[in-house]
């Protein structure tokens, strides 16, 4: 299998759980998987079942130069080297890199190095799974640049749909990338179709509202470990087959 997919959408719709589950299922299928947490409130590690802090790449990897702005301190360092050296291995062999920029604690060097990976890491055969920040800024600034598929995750609520409508404008700036909707926390049979129609993009898949997943999260457990047969987990397994591009 091989996938390059970025998950975007309003906070709380399930981006981290979906991206973590997709990453681990790709790993189980034998893929080398790089999970990228670009959220300024990093939560992907927890959803993957890892207990690591929000530290990003070392600040010293990049430096500020007159006229050039922020550049990699050593231009010969490749994205592949950064991944090999700094990505943390988690369950199902998923490697995790975190942007690690906490709000109010801007780390331009770490941010630059993370962007170096997002833009340049294309190692053959690897799958990339990105969990983007809840707002629209990052998405519009190229944090989804590695993706072949962008999945707009939205739940059946007016706010979530409005956020997804804003994010759908990304498609104009990313030709060649497939945009589709994942309807999350759906309760009624026609929820997925209604959410996709309101956003104006095709439906990729849907994940049901699932109390057992929320219970697992409430107890600090990953749903994939605690309730692997839950309906939401089975639905996410279905999504994996849809973003797989060999």
């Amino acid at each position: 299998m091989s996938a390059r997919v970025a998950f975007v959408g309003k906070g709380g719709v399930g981006k981290s759980v979906i991206s973590a589950t997709v990453a681990r299922l790709l790993g189980r299928a034998g893929d080398d998987v790089l999970a990228l947490d670009a959220d300024t409130m990093p939560g992907l590690a927890l959803s993957l079942g890892m207990h690591v802090g929000p530290e990003g790449l070392p600040e010293t990897l990049a430096e500020q130069r007159e006229n050039e702005g922020w550049v990699m301190a050593d231009p010969s360092v490749t994205p592949d080297q950064l991944v090999d050296r700094f990505a943390i291995v988690g369950p199902d062999r998923v490697r995790l890199l975190t942007l690690g920029k906490l709000p109010g604690n801007v780390k331009p060097g770490s941010t630059m190095a993370f962007r170096h990976v997002v833009r340049g890491f294309r190692r053959s055969g690897w799958s990339l799974v990105g969990d983007l920040a809840a707002g629209t800024r990052q998405a519009f600034f190229g944090w989804a640049g590695f993706a072949r598929n962008v999945a707009l995750v939205a739940e059946p609520s007016a706010k979530s749909v409005l956020s997804a409508r804003r994010l759908a404008r990304l498609a104009e700036s990313m030709p060649g990338v497939t945009f589709a909707v994942i309807a999350s926390k759906v309760r009624e049979g026609d929820d997925p179709a209604r959410v996709a129609a309101a956003i104006g993009l095709p439906l990729l898949g849907s994940v049901p509202y699932d109390g057992s997943v929320l219970d697992a999260e409430r107890h600090g457990l990953t749903a994939l470990d605690a309730v692997p047969e839950a309906p939401a987990m089975r639905a996410i397994a279905e999504i994996v087959t849809l973003v797989d591009q060999g």
């Binding site: 709380g12 719709v13 300024t40 939560g43 331009p108 629209t136 800024r137 706010k159 409005l162």
Partner: protein, 105 residues
């Protein structure tokens, strides 16, 4: 009284802020609701609907695109008057987030 509401996405910030604003306004207070989210949805929770909520953000963007920009910056009161919208119970809503042409991260 000045209240800022913050927290993780999906935890209910916008809903709490909107109900707080409208409840205060119903009690007779003059209320300005400021949407500082990079994904500004407060208009929906206040009850002005998605189209007017989207429009507000677009108006905010137009300020950045204006010739001269900061050179003829107005006072906060003038900006809220010019770029805000009236929500139910007399709450005045303004979006103070820039959405496009953002800084990294």
């Amino acid at each position: 009284m000045k209240v800022a509401i913050t927290g993780k996405g999906g935890s209910g910030k916008t809903t709490v802020a909107a109900i707080l604003a409208r409840t205060l306004a119903r009690g007779g207070a003059d209320v300005v609701a400021l949407d500082c989210d990079s994904n500004p949805n407060l208009g929906i929770s206040l009850g002005i609907g998605p189209e007017r909520t989207l429009e507000l953000a677009a108006i905010r963007q137009s300020l950045d695109d204006e010739e001269g920009g900061a050179e003829h910056a107005e006072t906060a009161d003038e900006l809220i008057e010019r770029f805000g919208d009236d929500a139910p119970d007399g709450v005045r809503l303004a979006v103070v987030t820039k959405i496009e042409k953002p800084n990294p991260g």
